[in-house]
């Protein structure tokens, strides 16, 4: 493996977590290899954005994901309110996610991977929140 490839390995696995609960562990699942590739494409297509702090309210707050290569975590991100706060070996960067496209796509990958009752709850909470934040 070249040094460049060692420094920037391609992710081969990813986990997604919905930042929803306060006491219980958040619902989480793994992405398929195809979904990992699609996620990387989506993130690569996002434009830079101003830094925004993630929400700290009770209830639905957004989603997080972690990318792995060879069993080692190589990047992580928080997706919330139309923003992506991404961190890898190059450091942190803030990206714009207009229309919450990445956030919505991440949520959809959970269907069938976690208990249906839990998925329906988090889908309801996310959609209710997105509707409330839509604004005029």
């Amino acid at each position: 493996m070249s040094k460049r490839k060692e420094e920037n390995p391609s992710p081969d696995a990813a986990t997604v977590e919905v930042d929803l609960y306060s006491g219980r562990p958040n619902p989480a699942w793994s992405l398929t290899p195809e979904e990992v590739a699609r996620l990387v494409e989506r993130v690569d297509g996002l434009a830079p954005a101003d830094e925004v702090e993630p929400p700290s309210r009770l209830g639905f707050r957004g989603l997080r994901f972690r990318l792995y290569a060879g069993g080692r975590e190589i990047a992580s991100a928080e997706s919330f309110d139309g923003h992506l706060r991404f961190q890898d070996s190059a450091g942190p960067r803030h990206l714009a996610d207009p229309g919450r496209e990445v956030e919505r796509w991440l949520l959809a990958t959970g269907q069938g991977k976690i208990e249906s009752q839990v998925y329906e709850t988090l889908k309801h909470e996310a959609e209710s929140y997105w509707t409330r934040k839509k604004g005029p």
Partner: protein, 278 residues
């Protein structure tokens, strides 16, 4: 901007609409004058048909002193006038609420208005807060112990409430050897808390005072009394703080905006300034 959802269907998504500026002002005036009509969103009797309305703030401009989401009506004994007026606001071109649906809802609203309330107007007594003689009160502004990058993600509301940074996303009862059932309730989460050593009365010294609240069907959360008459908390893996979901400093967790954690359970007391949890 306020959205009103008519909670009436069982299978289909409920219809909803946005209030005009004038309607929003009238609703806010009415609920401000009579705050008891605002119920937690989970306060439904689960009957078929009309179950009231869920009102949600869909923009930042709404009065922050009000909950961002609350229920109105749908209970026997609910006042007809407000509920019928809210039903009238659904007469807009872009809603799914047709005359038939309005007629069905109106019928149930009038019936509720004539019925005896299922519960009294006052909240049941949840166990009064006891002022302990010896308290351990941490800062209500400095949360650096909890919010550093190495710790914030691994410690939750129960860790914060217990003033014990286990990095295990602590669960009630786990230190005492039990697993919290799903869904968490006041009863089973309270049992776990007691198993961990918390009590219903003040302990000898350095009391932590906490309260347990529940998101019905989903989750638990805790608040802890901190210095200067404030209450503080840590929503999951997010930073510990001293404000509620309306951005207001918390002086009473029973009346604070707790988001979906609408069920207030009770207070607990732990001695020694920290309670071992895992």
């Amino acid at each position: 901007m306020l959205q009103v959802e008519l909670d009436i269907f069982s299978g289909r998504p409920n219809p909803s609409w946005i209030l005009s500026g004038k309607e929003e002002k009238e609703l806010l005036d009415r609920v401000t004058a009579e705050p008891r009509v605002m119920l937690p969103t989970a306060a439904t009797n689960g009957r078929l048909g009309y179950r009231g309305y869920v009102v949600s703030a869909v923009s930042e401009s709404v009065d922050k002193k009000l909950p961002s989401r609350f229920r109105i009506g749908g209970q026997p004994g609910s006042e007809s006038d407000l509920n019928l007026w809210l039903l009238d606001t659904s007469e807009k071109l872009d809603t799914e609420v047709d005359d038939y649906l309005r007629e069905v809802a109106a019928g149930m609203i009038r019936k509720d208005g004539l019925a005896t309330p299922a519960h009294g107007d006052t909240l049941p007594d949840k166990g009064a807060l006891v002022g302990c003689a010896s308290n351990y009160l941490t800062s209500s502004t400095d949360f650096s112990f909890w919010n550093g990058a190495s710790y914030v993600y691994y410690n939750n509301c129960y860790n914060y409430a217990s003033n014990y940074r286990s990095n295990t996303f602590a669960q009630p009862g786990r230190q005492g050897g039990s697993t919290l059932p799903f869904p968490p309730t006041c009863a089973n989460a309270g049992a776990g808390v007691r198993l961990d050593g918390w009590t219903d009365a003040c302990q000898a010294s350095n009391n932590l005072t906490i309260c347990l609240v529940i998101w019905p069907g989903n989750d638990f959360h805790f608040y802890r009394m901190c210095i200067n008459g404030r209450w503080c908390h840590k929503p999951g893996s997010t930073p510990a703080k001293n404000t509620d979901d309306s951005g207001n400093l918390i002086t009473n967790p029973q009346t604070a905006n707790r988001g979906p954690y609408t069920t207030f359970c009770e207070y607990f007391y732990g001695g020694g300034g920290s309670v071992l949890v895992s």
